[in-house]
């Protein structure tokens, strides 16, 4: 292990200077010659047949270069592949039917965006409106309007899975808790919307697409197939800066196809910058979910089994990487508890809402909201302290690495220690005393707890759990697995270091993180390292799992950098051995030079060695390749494809989160005020605490946004009611609670640096902890929060109802 001068330190970010001075380069800032601009006509109906489109007036409008409609899309492209069997045809634009309000119906390419929007108004579309369905349970009913006639049902996928012996556990249980939960449809709405530019070169047949796309790059293959292009004729370039994503910019890919098609058809370079209305209507979000859960336990609080049946609402089309919403957390379905038996019925249903995709915490916000609420309900039923119920069921430090019944392999951790730290930091006992006093005064004061296992670095294989094991077992089925990242490090003739990677950071500071890792590996200064992270599928090394999602960078990216650095150091040692005639084993790379392990001379500096390799290539000894660069592709051996019993290690590293929150509910307005919020994380080795805490803070506010403020609401006809930031309520600085963060470090044994991901972090616990705290505050009234967001209006009605019940 190299000496760590930078890893673990709050190094100020390399990324900041251009961003603070207006010199960032986002998709809308990229310069192009002869650029034209696109605008998109969108469906006004949630469900309708398109009887005809007449774009002739638009084609003749001032400045218009061309118009693309669904007919072109149906003729020239193929539907996108998706990981379920339902024969759903999802094209990059509506081709005959529209299935959600805001679905693209036509694209105008014009000299500027103003003119393009003018021309949209000249396109005549004749629709035959059809009945819409919005509610997932209603959509799953046999008499519901069917969105996709080919599928014959709105249920895109349904899997029933059993682990252990849940039936017996429920029979033997002293107590069973049952509840229904509703999780809202919300989105992280990055402040930079989607943006795509495209240019086609007929000579080479290469289509280049620039987009603020975050991966995974498996979607490159889907795009190429959809556009009938060979993969090496489709070049994707990600601009240097992306203005936030949090999962949402995975789902930009249909627009990449659409703009690619527009460029090929019109022959011009064209850019489309999504506007906010388009984003809120038609970009992406997490799923809304209805879940029915049961929890079996002994009267001492020991959890025995969980039973869950849920429906995830993926909107008008099931779009890759859905149904990840249902299965992404499969390996951590039991959370941090020693439960061995589960009964799962996971359904994924299509309705006339905007399609969904990854949103920070992908599938985990839903999971922990349900589990952690159930644990509190159990504690209440047993008359136990909710902290005590949790204590009795936590996986113990001696049990790591811990194999969960669903196939997850929790790599490391000390859950009890982290939990106790959270309780102590928040002064849990003191909060409970305060609560007694507050209740005596008639105040609604509550304390909530939430625990979570925080999965990072998704194993691409988990998605195939959506298929029945029988299908996965058929001959010819290609199993899917893995999570890799490739990084190249180069040393130039004067000894300075360049790191090249294909990640797509959206504010996570990848350049800073890698500069820290590589500077430490080589024992040089941060300034000696330059990191380039502008993804380009023609020049970067990448694979299907590439991209910046599932909190993977600190784990898989930093590991690849460390391994590449070590390869390069080994080469330098080898060359120094040749030059000094000292055996390799007697040399080491330390403090920026190669020197004898025993100390003393000769010591060869990086600069000196690099100079010799570059300037006198012919003098290199046999067995040493010329050049000074190394590439490492880092992957995890435990990222296997699912087995026949539906067990899969769905992520590669697993952190832990323990949170405590105190709230007070205003009995008159039902407003929730957060008084105290403590969040303890164990994400292994922290490379940069400044960046790590930033991720936690941002994630927490995303989770609280979904729990208290944000929801994409539709009326019964499928009209979306919050297509502006006036109505879609993103929390502001005035609403952000103080958050006290603490870290424990149980390094991952599976990564060279011991780091785990924490990019999603508290986004998955915040809904649970606030729901528990508010329920606790309202316990005297007998109110359990089972539906989010907890809006003041909704909460006031719950309180009123309870007061009627218990005068």
């Amino acid at each position: 292990m190299a000496a760590q001068r930078f890893i673990g330190r709050p190094v100020k970010r390399i990324e900041d200077l251009p961003l603070l001075t207006g010199r960032g380069v986002f998709i809308a800032d990229l310069p192009f010659a002869n650029l034209r601009h696109a605008a998109i006509l969108r469906a006004p109906y949630a469900h309708a047949r398109i009887l005809g489109i007449n774009a002739s007036r638009a084609r003749g409008a001032p400045g218009v270069v061309g118009v693309i409609t669904g007919n072109d899309v149906a003729r020239l492209t193929r539907p996108f592949a998706v990981g379920v069997r339902a024969p759903v045809k999802y094209y990059c634009m509506a081709t005959g039917k529209v299935r959600f309000v805001g679905e693209p119906v036509a694209v105008v390419v014009a000299d500027d965006r103003y003119l393009a929007e003018d021309a949209l108004e000249l396109i005549e579309v004749e629709y035959e409106p059809l009945p819409a369905v919005i509610d997932p349970e209603r959509a799953a009913a046999p008499d519901a309007p069917v969105l996709h006639e080919e599928a014959g049902t709105n249920v895109a996928c349904r899997r029933k899975m059993t682990y252990g012996d849940p039936q017996r556990c429920f029979e033997d249980a002293d107590v069973v808790v049952k509840a229904q939960f509703k999780f809202p449809k919300y989105s992280s709405t990055p402040i930079e919307t989607y943006g795509v530019a495209a240019s086609y070169e007929p000579g080479s047949g290469v289509l280049t697409i620039w987009a603020n796309f975050m991966g995974p790059f498996i979607l490159h293959s889907l795009l190429a197939r959809s556009l009938n292009l060979a993969e090496n004729r489709l070049r994707l370039i990600v601009p240097p800066d992306i203005g936030g994503s949090y999962g949402i910019k995975t789902s930009i890919f249909p627009y990449m196809a659409l703009l690619g098609l527009a460029a090929m058809e019109t022959g011009v370079t064209v850019r489309w910058i999504e506007d906010r209305r388009e984003h809120l209507l038609a970009a992406s979000s997490g799923t809304d979910r209805v879940a029915y859960r049961e929890l079996a336990a002994r009267k001492d609080g020991t959890l025995l089994a969980m039973r869950a049946r849920w429906l995830d609402n993926v909107g008008g089309y099931i779009r890759s990487p859905e149904p990840g919403c249902a299965f992404r957390p499969i390996g951590n379905w039991v959370g941090p508890y020693r439960v061995q038996s589960l009964d799962i019925d996971a359904g994924v249903v299509m309705t006339n809402k905007c399609p969904t995709g990854p949103n920070r915490g992908y599938g985990c916000g839903h999971l922990y909201f349900e589990i952690e609420r159930m644990v509190d309900m159990l504690a209440d039923k047993l008359g136990m302290d909710p902290a005590e119920v949790r204590r009795r069921n936590l996986i113990q430090p001696s049990q790591f690495p811990y194999r969960t019944p669903t196939g997850g392999l929790y790599d490391s951790g000390d859950y009890p220690a982290a939990f106790e730290r959270a309780l102590k930091t928040a002064d849990y006992a003191g909060l409970r005393r305060e609560q007694v006093q507050a209740r005596a005064q008639g105040r609604l004061f509550g304390v909530g707890l939430a625990l979570a296992v925080d999965p990072s670095v998704s194993n691409m294989g988990y998605i195939s759990v959506a298929l029945d094991p029988e299908i996965r077992g058929r001959p010819g089925y290609l199993p899917k697995s893995g999570a890799t990242e490739a990084i190249t490090i180069r040393i130039d003739p004067l000894g300075k270091i360049s790191v090249i990677l294909g990640s797509t950071p959206q504010g996570q500071g990848h350049r800073t993180i890698l500069a820290q890792v590589v500077a430490d590996e080589f024992g040089v200064e941060l300034d000696d390292v330059t990191v380039t992270d502008e993804m380009d599928t023609f020049t970067r090394l990448w694979s299907v799992s590439s991209g910046s999602y599932s909190s993977r960078f600190a784990t898989v990216g930093a590991s690849a950098a460390a391994v590449a650095a070590r390869k390069l150091k080994a080469k330098l040692v080898k060359h120094a051995s040749y030059l000094t005639e000292i055996p390799e084993q007697a040399l080491e790379f330390a403090d920026g030079q190669v020197r004898p392990r025993a100390g003393g001379q000769p010591a060869l500096s990086l600069k000196e060695l690099a100079g010799r390799v570059h300037w006198n290539a012919a003098a290199l000894p046999e067995g040493i390749e010329p050049g000074l660069e190394a590439t490492a592709v880092f992957g995890f051996p435990e990222a296997k494809s699912p087995d026949a019993l539906d067990r899969v290690n769905s992520s590669n590293t697993y952190g832990f989160i323990a949170e405590v929150m105190a709230v007070e509910v205003d009995p008159e307005t039902a407003a929730v005020k957060i008084l105290r919020y403590v969040s303890v994380h164990d994400a292994g080795t922290i490379i940069n605490p400044l960046i790590a805490d930033g991720q936690i803070l941002g994630g927490a506010l995303h989770g609280l946004g979904g729990a208290l403020y944000e929801e994409l609401v539709y009326d019964e006809d499928g009209q979306q009611l919050c297509a502006s930031f006036m109505d879609y309520l993103v929390p502001t600085a005035a609403e952000a609670p103080q958050l006290q963060i603490e870290h424990l470090a149980s390094p991952s044994p599976f990564t060279p640096l011991g780091a785990k991901g924490l990019g999603e972090a508290s986004s998955m616990t915040a809904p649970a902890v606030v729901a528990n705290a508010v329920s606790d505050a309202l316990r005297p009234l007998g109110i359990e929060i089972t539906e989010l967001p907890i809006t003041p209006s909704r909460l006031w009605h719950l309180i009123e109802k309870a007061r009627m019940r218990k005068p």
Binding site: E121, A671, A734, P792, S793
Partner: protein
């Protein structure tokens, strides 16, 4: 989200603006601060043939005291109202309400006249204007006329302004001695339009309520003057019981809408809570307590 094309005029005097309004026969819109109008244009929810920008008409921007009233030029920026020592001293309710209008960067451009003419029922200025029985001066082809709050707000975002009229001045009575004020608002986020807002100005003589001026925002198509609550205070005095009674009567008077953010019942309930809070806070101020 780009505005449709329009003709644009930015006269520096009022008369040419009036002439343009006449010429466009209802097809032109006045562009004041633009903080609502430009958003509507960007959404293409309105498409006037022409915009008549009054921002360069300097003489429509002033704050002065005249005949016991505060007179504000219609194009006075909300930011100017916020930081005006005169407003803070002579009509603190207006100053307090101003700080709840959007955010400072929108108050930089937004104007008091623009907000009143836009007549969003959840906005703060119309409620203050209604509570204080303000007057609006409109100038049209036949000269000026003065409109009171009751006649000005006619319905949801609809006012008594004729298509060929321009709002030129807003007049509000100055607060007299032994009065207190409060603007209580409940919104889900800082800076949002109110779910419900209540403007209150209460003047006392000893233990008696001399005048109570109350109006609510967000509970109907127009700002709602809470007369029944005012009467309760003026007749029954300022006991806690009377304040509670006044708040209850305020709530009874509302017929609020239900929407995405709040049900009608909740809005009615909030009217009671906020009226009670506003009266209490105004009263404390009237009695010289610092709150």
């Amino acid at each position: 989200m780009k505005p449709p094309a329009f003709e644009y005029h930015d006269p520096v005097e009022l008369e040419p603006a009036l002439e343009l309004l006449r010429r466009y026969q209802g097809e032109a819109k006045i562009l004041a601060g633009g903080q609502s109008l430009l958003a509507l244009l960007n959404f293409r929810l309105t498409r006037p043939v022409a915009l008549i920008d009054v921002n360069r008409i300097r003489r429509l921007s002033y704050i002065k005291e005249q005949d016991g009233r505060l007179c504000l030029g219609a194009v006075t920026r909300q930011r100017a109202v916020e930081f005006s020592p005169l407003v803070r001293e002579k009509l603190p309710l207006l100053a307090e309400a101003t700080r709840l209008v959007g955010h400072l960067p929108t108050r930089t451009r937004g104007t008091i006249g623009g907000s009143l003419a836009h007549a969003d029922p959840a906005a703060e200025y119309p409620a203050v204007f209604s509570a204080l029985d303000g007057e609006l001066v409109a100038r049209g082809p036949n000269g000026e006329r003065v409109l009171g709050a009751r006649e000005f707000f006619q319905g949801l975002m609809t006012t008594a302004l004729a298509p060929d009229e321009v709002l030129v001045e807003v007049r509000l009575p100055l607060m007299t001695a032994q009065c207190g004020w409060a603007f209580e608002e409940f919104s889900r986020r800082q800076g949002d339009f109110a779910i419900v807002g209540v403007a209150a100005q209460v003047c006392v003589v000893g233990e008696r309520c001399k005048t109570a001026r109350l109006a609510a925002a967000g509970v109907g198509p127009t700002p709602l003057r809470l007369e029944r609550a005012e009467q309760t205070l003026e007749q029954d005095g300022l006991s806690e019981r009377s304040i509670a009674e006044a708040a209850a009567r305020a709530a009874e008077q509302t017929e609020p809408p239900s929407d995405l953010h709040a049900t009608a019942q909740y809005r009615r309930h909030l009217t009671r809570v906020l009226t009670q809070r506003a009266i209490s806070r105004a009263l404390a101020r009237a009695r010289g307590e610092r709150r």
